[in-house]
Amino acid sequence: MEKKMKPKSQFRTLVALTFKQGYARLGGAIVLGILFLAIFGPFFAPYTFDEFVDVPNAPRSDTLMLGADYFGRDVYSRFLSGGRSIIGLSFISTVLGVGLGLLIGLFAASAKKRTDGLIMRANDILLAFPQIVFVLLVVSGFGTSVFLIAVTVGFTHAPRTARIIRAAAAEVMERDFIKAAIAVGEKRQRIIISELLPNVTSPLLVEFGLRMTYSIGLVAAVSFLGLGLQPPAADWGLMINENRGSLTVQPWGVLAPIAAIALFTIGVNFITDSFAKAAIGIDRKGKE
């Protein structure tokens, strides 16, 4: 009989082990900083995001910390206001996508072999579309809508998460305590919620971190391509697109938002990577 560690205490050890690593702490600090900037930034903006403050592409000065954008608006104020949309949308699509993928994965793993095979084959078909291509296909059919983009990005995550979760859950299904639960005649719903779910939290969290970085990339790319938020909205992706033409004269309109996106994705990935390493470490110890 294998020893069953309480999932809760194991999780706490895992988090402790994660943040023992320097990169995880650095990543955490970066993520918190960017989140603070995105959420509270608009309150510190000296101007509104759409008022004209100077000539187009005005250089940095005492009043304009990062100069003016291609239209003559304050880059610093637009930068402070432009994080909410991208981070908010990315978060929504990650929650939707990973949630849906989790449901499909757990359902497939605990289903009969035939149903499981059928679900996963259908899943494989969806994997054939690169995420950005699928999002573009939907946008060309329905037109641009911020909400639609968040949902579609989430939808493209689902089959990818489902595959990872199914693989992890299928392994758990083979363990003694699940077999015991099935033998005792526990309901499938209960097995999924109280036996399977607590035992796939590590791959689930790794997926969540990974999908969050991809969400940001996708949401920002769609805005950057001019298919997401529409002017005059302040949005990091859109700002990069708008000010790209004046990169040589006034780079701050591009550099500020792109640095924020880069730092955020790097920060999230540092945490995810450290967490994954910690989880693998615990697994190895358990097997020895």
């Binding site: 946008v139 060309s140 059919g141 950057f224 990169l247 040589t248 780079p251 792109i258 996106i261 999230v268």
Partner: protein, 346 residues
């Protein structure tokens, strides 16, 4: 006689497996055409309405509907579209009088040139980085390359593209053009300088994934018993690594390489848009903006089909490069192991 037949099938195990995988790909391709076709049905109004936009009158709408067969039942429309699509005939574009295939023709070649020039550099480079990092595990090269690949793997490809432009084209150095000037009617070879930055971006996007998998795979192989055996035999470390470890470590990496090549087909869309590179990615973005669905459908279908083909090739490649699986398939067609080895999707 019987033993001859048995011999034939034993040797043909691999061939049969390959054939089986190709046959299994057919229903997937059909399912993809259904999905992509359904995108037309999602349009509010039908293709005739978007085709005519503001100039629509009932008579003109009726004429266009007849021309596009929109009055036929859905399955008739699907079959005529799908059978044309299989012959790479995607009909006319919504906005112009040209056919989709005419627009895509040389753009596809340009995109393939870009993908090839990135892949040819990225894949050997990642194998070298991954192997060297594994051999020097815990040393400075390993630590630095781990950090750099982790950072690069985090960055969205358009972010990398703009960094590259900032660094090498506009602000810091002005070595390469920030925008492609490939003239219409010529292929990207004609202006190799235009290829540099888009390729570099894609290389920086693909290398981290493949090299990290390669490193992991190599570390696992280096800890195995047969490598210790080879060392005990007194072989030089160089021979152990290059002759014994490397070939075995590459096999699990093949699936990831295939997935990364398939990813390139998607990543190329955004990267081409940044550099105004005249490939299918730029056409796709323009067509999405113009909501010219036939072009978008054609490109989507081709990219998805490429994914299926690359996966089949990867499965076959994995078996070819894994002796254990190769002999196993000579006996029976059990593929479960191979698919269990598939991982690392982006």
């Amino acid at each position: 006689m019987m033993s001859k037949i048995r011999d034939f099938f034993n040797q043909g195990g691999l061939l049969l497996f390959a054939l089986g995988r190709i046959l299994a790909g057919i229903p997937i391709i059909i399912a993809l055409t259904v999905l992509v076709f359904m995108a037309t049905q999602a349009l509010p109004g039908d293709a005739a309405v978007s085709y005519l936009a503001n100039t629509a009158t009932p008579e003109r709408l009726a004429a266009i509907r007849e021309q596009l067969n929109l009055d036929d039942p859905l399955w008739v429309q699907y079959f005529s579209w799908a059978s044309d699509a299989l012959r790479l005939d995607f009909g006319m574009t919504l906005t112009g009088e040209t056919s989709v295939s005419a627009i895509l023709g040389e753009r596809i070649q340009n995109t393939l040139i870009l993908m090839a020039s990135s892949g040819i550099i990225a894949i050997p480079l990642s194998i070298v980085i991954g192997t060297y990092a594994a051999v020097r595990r815990g040393k400075i090269f390993d630590n630095v390359s781990s950090l750099v690949t982790l950072v690069l793997a985090s960055l969205p490809e358009f972010v990398v593209a703009i960094f590259v432009v900032f660094l090498l084209a506009t602000n810091i150095f002005q070595i390469f053009p920030a925008i492609s000037f490939v003239e219409p009617g010529t292929l990207a070879w004609a202006d190799p300088m235009s290829l540099v930055l888009p390729s570099l971006t894609l290389i920086l996007a693909v290398t981290p994934y493949v090299s990290r998998i390669m490193r992991g795979s190599m570390i696992e192989v280096m800890e195995s018993e047969y490598i210790q055996m080879a060392r005990l035999k007194g072989l030089s470390e160089r021979t152990v690594i290059l002759r014994h470890a490397l070939p075995n470590a590459i096999a699990p990496t093949i699936q990831v390489i295939a997935l990364q090549l398939a990813w390139l087909a998607g990543g190329v869309v955004v990267v081409e848009a940044v550099f105004a590179y005249p490939g299918i990615g730029t056409v796709m973005i323009d067509s999405v903006k113009a909501r010219d669905l036939p072009i978008v459908q054609a490109i989507t279908l081709m990219i998805a089909a490429l994914y299926v083909v690359l996966n089949i090739l990867a499965d076959i490649g994995t078996i070819l490069s894994t002796p254990r699986l190769r002999t196993k398939h000579a006996r029976k067609n059990d593929t479960s192991d191979v698919f269990a080895a598939m991982d690392g999707d982006q």
